[in-house]
């Protein structure tokens, strides 16, 4: 069954103590696409994921998933096999079990079916993600990339319709990033799935996502339907003064101490204005523009 509107959040208000995370937040996410969610640290990306997975209840407002409102525990359980969440790969796995033991265990936990029913799919996925050489070793001996691949397979075990990835690139090398990127495309195009991912890496989001959302001013706003591979400008700069305030509204990464990489669309006029202002005021030293 195809769900046109996969996630609908209407008039969501959420506060933690005195800190307001969402104020009258509305978002509609359509199915069968790759959605990127960006925002600064603490802006509410993880809270949004928790809201749609039922781990967090809004103070006000309604959340609909697959056309059903999630309110009570039983509504959430009924939808659990449709959603898979990929958290931090350094955690999210039983490190004292082997990769295969993890897969067999999570197969039952995610589907309610016995080991026998899942072995074929498990072996298929192990082959597909080239994990045969290490799958029987304990997870504690895995590298970050191995864990991320294993976690991706765990997330795919129940044939989910919606795959939520919270910072999937954390610690991934180039090779594993390519594997992940290819798989995300395959999941959406061949398996009619939907992927919602959060990342600090705006280049990755630009390359992979069909639709981008940003959390800004306690709301989630749709940026635009980006063309995959749309041209971006990448700027490397050294922060000379307060590093928390220079170009901080753009998605940036600190590469070395005070050395930042920031990227945006090539026609982002506001960015150039801000960049010039920062240079003129000796706040930053421009290192490289790509």
């Amino acid at each position: 069954m195809a769900y046109e509107k996969l996630i609908v959040c209407s008039n969501i208000f959420k506060k933690f103590g005195k800190v307001e995370i969402f104020e009258n937040m509305n978002i509609t996410i359509e199915s069968n696409q790759i959605i990127g969610l960006i925002g600064e640290n603490g802006s509410g990306k993880t809270s949004f994921i928790k809201l749609i997975s039922g781990m967090l209840l809004p103070d006000q407002g309604n959340i609909y998933l697959f056309d059903k409102e999630i309110k009570r525990e039983k509504d959430i359980i009924a939808l659990k096999d449709k959603i898979s969440i990929l958290g931090d790969a350094n955690r999210s796995l039983y490190w004292n079990l082997s990769g295969m033991d993890n897969l067999i265990y999570f197969w039952t936990v995610k589907t309610g079916l016995n080991k026998k029913a899942g072995l074929m799919l498990i072996n298929e996925l192990v082959d597909k993600f080239n994990m045969g050489s290490f799958i029987n070793k304990k997870v504690e001996s895995y590298s970050k990339g191995m864990k991320q691949r294993l976690l991706l397979v765990v997330a795919l075990l129940g044939h989910p319709k919606l795959l939520v990835m919270d910072e999937p690139l954390n610690g991934l090398d180039y090779e594993n990033t390519v594997i992940l990127k290819n798989y995300i495309n395959e999941f959406v195009n061949k398996e009619n799935g939907t992927v919602l991912l959060t990342s600090h890496n705006s280049r990755f989001i630009d390359e992979v996502c069909d639709t981008k959302f940003v959390i800004k001013n306690k709301r989630i706003e749709k940026i635009s339907n980006v063309e995959r591979g749309e041209r971006v400008i990448v700027v490397y700069y050294k922060c000379l003064k307060n590093k928390d305030s220079c170009l901080n509204k753009y998605i940036r990464e600190e590469r070395e101490e005070n050395i930042f990489r920031v990227e945006t669309y090539i026609n982002d006029k506001d960015f150039y204005k801000e960049l010039s202002w920062q240079i003129d005021n000796d706040n930053i030293e421009l290192l490289e523009i790509i």
Partner: protein, 253 residues
């Protein structure tokens, strides 16, 4: 039902793998628990009544079932798999309860060992299987319900080990109190208040071959007590779960 059997098997497999992964801890747990229990039994034997000894063998099972659901939640949070388990086909409570039943099965090795030691070295008693089975079922249900109560508190307050220790001490004290030496009125009052006392009086009565389970009042208070604990524990668990979801504490350290 099939779904829960599949989870039971998966948890059993996981539990066995972990037992094999830490052999020293597994053996040490069996030995140290048995030594402590035997020391308690020797102490009771010197100064107490023989009927007090017989409920001690239930202690490992009670302890495991009470601590099971909360320690399952706690360990999943610490390892980091809580979200994975939460977004699964099962409720975290059913995963926790099934895990604690499996751990209770593992810790029944302790119970059997203590039982055999008591039979061989202290008192050789004829056991009434039907009565004991009744007592055992009530014990398991009461312990799981207390476990659910603690699991709820763990979800909300995250660390509940001190409360668990307190409950364990209370249970141990209840297990060795010579209830049958008290007057009937005191027994009735105590059995209506303390969760395990009715069960222990039943065990001690079975040992003494007095009254068996014919005392309707005792029987009813024990069942009634269980019913109240089940309702109360579920209420606390659901309340704590909702509260954690509103405050955003679910799955936090």
């Amino acid at each position: 039902m099939n779904k829960n059997i599949n989870l039971f098997r998966a948890e059993l497999r996981r539990g066995m793998t972990l037992l094999k992964a830490y052999p020293l801890d597994t053996i040490n747990n069996l030995i140290s628990f048995t030594v402590v229990s035997v020391l308690i039994i020797i102490g009771i034997n010197k100064i107490g009544e023989p009927q007090q000894i017989f409920s001690v063998f239930l202690f490992p099972i009670i302890m495991t079932l009470i601590s099971g659901p909360s320690s399952s939640i706690r360990s999943d949070i610490e390892i980091g798999v809580f979200e994975q388990v939460y977004t699964s086909k099962y409720t975290i409570l059913s995963v926790g309860v099934i895990r604690s039943i499996i751990n209770a099965i593992f810790s029944s090795a302790n119970s059997i060992l203590i039982f055999v030691i008591v039979q061989l070295f202290f008192y050789n008693t004829k056991w009434k299987i039907v009565e004991l089975l009744f007592v055992f079922v009530i014990t398991v249900l009461t312990s799981i319900s207390l476990g659910v109560f603690l699991a709820g508190l763990t979800i909300k307050f995250r660390k509940t080990e001190t409360l668990l220790n307190l409950i364990n001490i209370m249970v141990l004290i209840e297990l060795i109190v010579p209830f049958t030496a008290m007057s009937s009125n005191i027994i009735y009052i105590v059995s209506a208040i303390l969760p395990f006392s009715g069960i222990i009086v039943c065990i001690q009565n079975i040992y003494n071959e007095i009254a068996n389970l014919n005392e309707i009042y005792l029987f009813l208070t024990t069942i009634g007590n269980l019913f109240i604990i089940i309702v109360f524990s579920n209420f606390v668990f659901n309340k704590c779960m909702k509260c954690a979801k509103i405050k955003g504490d679910l799955g936090n350290y």
